[in-house]
Symmetry: C2
């Protein structure tokens, strides 16, 4: 019974691309597939490419995953699981709504950089319409994220940490912030400046939603 993510880091081990021969064929296939899909896209990656990189032969792939698409879907499910996990962790840490908003942004940005290959694969499907890859509902994940931000914003408004504004608009702006940091290399932003850029953008966006400096501030309800 195939269960994903049992080994600590099947997918995308830190750094180089050699695979410890100790890994099973199945694991080597998963690992090789992320790299190949990310580098060339789903369609452009052939089964031959994957099995060669994994050091196994084609029938091994079909034995474990049934098809190229099956392998992809396994990867996709793992990606979703990781996002949900990171989300939960970021929220569990507590703090005020704005603190949690910032943490959630950082968490999103971090996981998308840490698992850049997986993340790109997801993007491929999200932005790119059908047939570019097997059907998989990543949109649900995106909508969930937006909803999460909206709820946090609403909470922040209720708590007086944010001024009354459209929670939808602020939530979208926050997601845009994360989006742009993740694709920052496209704009020529140095890797070392990504954290700084994210914080700077968050400062700006959240400043736009800061409550007006009234003479009688509302520190906490009640």
């Amino acid at each position: 019974m195939p269960s994903v993510a049992s080994p600590p880091d099947t997918i995308e081990p830190a750094g180089s691309d050699q695979q410890p021969a100790a890994l099973s064929g199945r694991e080597r296939l998963l690992s090789a597939a992320v790299a190949q899909f990310a580098a060339k896209g789903y369609v452009a990656t052939s089964v031959r490419d994957i099995v060669r990189a994994a050091g196994v032969t084609a029938p091994a792939l079909y034995y474990h995953f049934g098809s190229k698409e099956g392998l992809f879907l396994t990867l996709a499910r793992e990606a979703v699981a990781r996002v949900k996990q990171v989300r939960a962790e970021a929220l569990a840490a507590g703090g005020g709504p704005v603190d949690r908003i910032r943490r959630l942004c950082r968490a999103h940005a971090t996981i998308r950089r840490r698992y850049a290959s997986l993340s790109w694969i997801v993007d491929q499907i999200l932005s790119g319409p059908p047939e570019a890859a097997p059907a998989f509902d990543f949109r649900g994940l995106a909508r969930e994220s937006l909803r999460l931000f909206e709820d946090l914003v609403a909470e922040g408004i209720a708590a007086g940490e944010l001024r009354g504004c459209s929670s939808r608009h602020l939530a979208l702006a926050l997601m845009g912030t994360v989006e742009v940091v993740v694709r920052a290399d496209v704009f020529g932003v140095a890797d070392g400046k990504l954290d700084e850029s994210l914080e700077g953008m968050l400062d700006l966006v959240l400043a736009g939603a800061a409550p007006p400096p009234t003479s009688a501030p509302v520190p906490a309800p009640g």
Copy 2:
């Protein structure tokens, strides 16, 4: 001598997908290719798909563009030209720095929705790394856009329309705003609300960079 974009709207005519039989084979090929590339991605689109949709045969494609890649590059060059043109128009209209910033954002968002297919093809190459499509330097275009926003922001700060803040960070936040509007469908935002969303987000982000309401405001230098 192949020259692109001579006819008013070779690429992506409004609405449906029928092609007026009056168009030349070359034009029909271009038009069909955008649609197909956008729908399935570069690699997943076969030469046969394109020529069938264009109502011509394979040798016609090779006669005009030399290869599938050549056809793609022709499209890519046209996309870049359109972006530069729209940019120029948005800036030429004059007004204060903040006005031009807003116009530039709207222009970016509009053109990317108007030429959604072309735009998606560009994204495919921008976000997705090599081999997913022929090499083409769209990054230069993205960097140019960022630079443009930075300059406008700097100008806005100098003019007192914006408070002193990192022009890089504000520029990135603005690009994120556009980015998120373009991909708004991913988050389940209704098409009819895109304009409203963009304006709302711009209000928020620009509010975060608004100059402090000093007792002695600085309406204009000198």
